[in-house]
């Protein structure tokens, strides 16, 4: 009962504060600090947010805490223009790990890079890095850069970059947090840090578990199976002199999920149950050595090793006979050096290069697959005068498996007046064809027996041979065009207006356009003797995404911060637009035989995109009384799911998932070093078992944390 009472009390309190905003003397609260924090992701060097020329955003630890977020997807779904794609959950073998990915500026999760302290998170399943793999309990902040960033980060940074900045050791401290919520969702954190003159150590441990949930009882098995996962993170900083610094970070993530669900061997055969486990083990090790040669030159050597290991074993429930085994193990090794040079007072240069090896061992492909990438990058920032800053840069990626890529970028920032700042950037991004698209050799016996070949795994000669052997009954003309894949490329333009109305209110709007070429899609190339189709991948499609994303931030008084944002998005497959223009694309009316010609306005663009997304967030923090909290509303308009009238595009009303509004609330009371938080996610209990199988509905939770801090004089490491 207690948390509910607290909440009501707090809402009343918030309302009072909101309407009679008191006179404020100083504005040095945590909120103010976050308005112009330092961000590293945008330029690969520390810059104030107000000096960054590309659309960038920082989510502080304070905001994460007040939002009651546990995993990365929790907090990203509340950010302007970020669309969290729904995981395919555990309804098919190998599908359990797809999880939630993030779409930036309408580009799929495949084109978004997730970094931890600047190093890429690996282990894409179906192109998606599951955001739920990343705990946000003890991080300093999340930096988001929208638009093509391949000039700095290479492949995959086509739509944008999300960089998790882990906590630095800042004091001698130990803290623990325990959270419990509906569906036995339990989350426990333990963090400790030691800070000495020359060294510091930060350790963090997290255990996260749930009994799973099952909104649709008519279907046996769970929508989300029970799971438990552990995260361990540590960071050791050693600074023998004030010119030399060594940072060694380590991370471990392990998760186990119990699987139990009905499957069918083919299209509508009777279901039987399979049971088993899926496991993920992930290790990252990242030593970084920083040497400040003199006032103007600094060099950073980064080494990185990461392993992602996914394994799933399933057996038939009735006789415990073998049903399915899947292994996916990726190793990533990288050495990189970056040198930052400040020259002639007005210039900052970042130059670097590296070598990376990507090795994959999986049951899905024939043999081990590997790729070696060598790259160089160069970027110069020129502060022409007080008003104008110009940044130019490029990155060259050479590798063993596909075409080399040069990714240039130019950005400028112009301070028109003291209040108005205009940023513009144009750059190119790319995504290498992934291992799946190149090497997949996968027969899905669990779903009709279809077969998918990576483009490097099949040739027309092999197909013809299979036809002679009677394995293939029909070869489609497109099969003659199977060839080595090229990287998918994009060109992105961002124009951003920042207007500081006054010290407390700022508004901005970003207009963006991304043109994507060589999009890789699968197509049927042949039919097997069991009639199941054979697929392969092709560079066929061209698409674009464009839109506008206005945002505002309003510091009502030193206790209340309001943030809001909206994104209007238009996307389209250019081939479809061409077909519409030629008048050769038709649609069938719902529940009727009537066919009509598709108009541009009938076409809803790429699937899985909402045209309208909006958020409004209110954060409250009253340090003297110890009360704080937040109220967040997130809206997403309908998005296309699957074609149902046979034209391959999203155009009919039954081809959409309905839009929805999600309200989240959280209240915190601090008593000295004890912190009690109660919150409700999805207050309106919105559910959609078909399109959002992993959305369990209303989720109340309560958390208690306690910390012991030995205060130090602030001496920054």
């Amino acid at each position: 009962m207690q948390p509910v009472l607290n909440m009501k009390y707090c809402i009343a309190l918030l309302t009072v504060y909101f309407f009679c905003s008191s006179v404020f003397s100083q504005m040095d609260t945590v909120f103010v600090k976050q308005l112009d924090a330092v961000i590293v992701t945008a330029t690969r060097s520390e810059r104030k947010l107000s000096n960054v020329a590309v659309p960038a955003q920082l989510i502080s630890d304070k905001i994460i805490q007040q939002s009651g977020s546990v995993r990365l997807n929790d907090i990203l779904q509340e950010q302007t223009g970020l669309f969290i794609t729904s995981g395919s959950s555990s309804n098919s073998p190998g599908g359990g790990a797809f999880g939630n990915g993030v779409q930036i500026q309408g580009l799929s999760p495949d084109y978004t890079m997730i970094l931890i302290d600047g190093e890429p998170v690996i282990g894409r399943e179906g192109g998606v890095i599951d955001l739920a793999r990343i705990a946000v309990g003890d991080i300093k902040g999340i930096e988001i850069v929208k638009g093509p960033s391949s000039s700095l980060y290479g492949s995959e940074a086509m739509g944008g970059v999300v960089n998790i900045i882990t906590q630095q050791p800042q004091s001698d401290r130990i803290s623990t947090c325990f959270r419990y919520g509906r569906f036995s969702m339990a989350d426990a954190n333990l963090a400790a840090s030691v800070k000495k003159k020359k060294w510091g150590l930060q350790v963090f441990g997290n255990r996260n578990s749930s009994n799973g949930f099952d909104p649709d009882k008519s279907i046996s098995g769970y929508a989300v199976d029970p799971f438990v996962n552990y995260t361990m993170q540590s960071k050791l900083i050693f600074q023998p002199t004030n010119k030399t610094k060594l940072i060694v970070s380590g991370r471990y993530y392990g998760s186990t999920q119990d699987n139990f669900y009905p499957v069918t061997d083919s299209i509508a055969s009777p279901a039987f149950h399979v049971a088993g486990h899926s496991r993920i083990r992930e290790i990252n090790l990242n030593p970084v050595f920083v040497q400040q040669f003199n006032q103007d030159i600094r060099s950073t050597l980064r080494l990185y090793f990461s392993r992602y290991h996914y394994e799933q074993g399933l057996h038939r429930e009735t006789d415990r006979s073998f049903y399915y085994y899947d292994l996916f193990q990726q190793d990533y090794l990288r050495a990189e050096d970056q040198t930052d040079w400040k020259w002639q007072r007005k210039n900052s240069l970042n130059a670097g290069g590296g070598i990376a090896a990507d090795i994959l061992n999986t049951t899905r492909y024939k043999g081990k697959k590997s790729d070696v990438i060598r790259y160089l990058f160069l970027q110069n920032e020129w502060r022409a005068n007080e008003q104008l800053t110009v940044i130019g840069g490029a990155r060259y990626d050479n590798n063993s498996a596909y075409q080399a890529r040069l990714s240039p970028k130019i950005a400028l920032s112009y301070k028109a007046t003291g209040k108005l700042r205009i940023n513009a950037s144009y750059g190119s991004g790319f995504k290498a064809p992934d291992f799946r698209q190149q090497y997949l050799n996968f027969t899905n016996d669990a779903a009709g027996g279809y077969l998918i070949y990576g483009a490097s795994e099949i040739t027309i000669q092999q197909l013809l041979q299979q036809q002679q052997q009677g394995l293939i009954t029909a070869i489609l003309p497109v099969a003659y065009h199977v060839t080595r894949l090229k990287p998918e490329i994009s060109k992105g333009l961002n124009v951003e207006f920042h207007f500081d109305v006054n010290k407390r209110l700022n508004i901005s709007a970003n207009i963006f356009r991304n043109d994507i070429n060589n999009l890789i899609q699968y197509e049927i190339i042949a039919y097997r003797s069991n009639n199941a189709p054979v697929y392969s991948y092709f560079n066929i499609d061209r698409a674009f995404t464009e839109g506008i994303a206005p945002q505002f931030q309003f510091l009502v008084n030193k206790k209340i911060l309001i943030q809001g944002g909206y994104q209007y998005l238009i996307t389209a497959d250019k081939e479809v637009l061409k077909e519409i223009k030629e008048g050769i694309l038709y649609a069938r009316k719902l529940n009727s035989n009537q066919v009509y010609k598709i108009k541009r306005s009938d076409y809803a663009g790429l699937p899985n995109r909402s045209a309208h997304m909006a958020n409004l967030k209110l954060f409250y923090d009253d340090e003297p009384s110890g009360w704080s909290g937040s109220f967040r509303a997130v809206y997403r308009s309908r998005w296309g799911t699957t074609d149902k009238d046979g034209n391959g595009i999203i155009n009919r009303s039954d081809e959409f998932a309905p839009g929805y509004l999600q309200l989240n609330i959280s209240v915190i009371k601090k008593i000295k070093t004890l912190r009690i938080q109660a919150g409700i996610d999805n207050l309106l209990n919105y559910r959609d078992t078909v399109n959002l199988p992993d959305q369990p509905g209303i989720q109340p939770y309560i958390s208690i944390s306690y910390s012991l801090i030995k205060k130090h004089k602030q001496n920054q490491l």
Binding site: D265, S266, I267, A268, S269, P270, A447, G448, Y450, T473, A474, L476, P477, I524, Y527, S529, N530, N531, P533, Y535, G583, I584, L585, Y586, A587, R588, N593, V595, Y596, K597, T642, D643, K644, D645, G646, N647, G648
Partner: protein
């Protein structure tokens, strides 16, 4: 006042003119109309090893498989493979044009340009060109706006549209029958008009 009145008058005249022409056209077409729109359900084997299902536009029925070597059928279907009764597939003179368009708006068949089954591996209709297959639901969705214009085995003309492809309820791992729901117009008088 005058300037406002003239456009209104023009619109009225144009509208009434349109009404007049369209009503005339309607009268004309119904006067000469000798065809009807028919529907049929063709039960097709869901296997590329079992026999084809044959169809005759003239009789508006399925033709027995034992008549496969005759000119009694116009087209055959097995899974998603089309045959037309000509050359490599049969003794008839059938051909087909797969045309983009709206079924009701196609009022006449082209005089030439029909494709034939020139060889067993080179059929008039390429598989995969008239439907989408959904990997997740395993359903075949006929593409809207694809109209099959046939010259029948005995040199008449017909137009056809596939409305649905639905699996017949089944037990076992693989469906046995896929039911194609067809809509067609057959012109019995031998002209190209529908």
């Amino acid at each position: 006042m005058k300037t406002k009145f003239i456009p209104l008058l023009m619109i009225f005249t144009a509208a009434s003119g349109l009404l007049f022409f369209s009503s005339c056209k309607k009268d004309n077409s119904s006067a000469v109309k000798t065809t009807n729109v028919d529907t049929a359900v063709l039960a097709v084997n869901f296997s590329s090893n079992s026999p084809f299902a044959f169809f005759s536009f003239k009789n508006k029925t399925v033709v027995n498989n034992s008549d496969s070597a005759t000119g009694k059928w116009d087209f055959g279907l097995r899974l998603t493979t089309f045959l037309v009764n000509s050359n490599a597939s049969g003794p008839g003179n059938a051909g087909v044009i797969l045309q983009n368009g709206i079924f009701d708006n196609i009022t006449s068949a082209p005089a030439s340009g029909y494709a034939y089954d020139t060889a067993a591996g080179h059929l008039a209709i390429t598989d995969g060109t008239w439907y989408s297959y959904n990997m997740n639901t395993h359903s075949f969705l006929p593409n809207p706006g694809k109209v099959f214009i046939f010259r029948t085995a005995d040199n008449h003309y017909a137009k056809m549209e596939i409305l649905e492809a639905v699996y017949e309820p089944f037990t076992g791992p693989v469906p046995k029958i896929i039911n194609y729901k067809l809509r067609f117009v057959y012109q019995p008088n031998g002209t190209l008009n529908f």
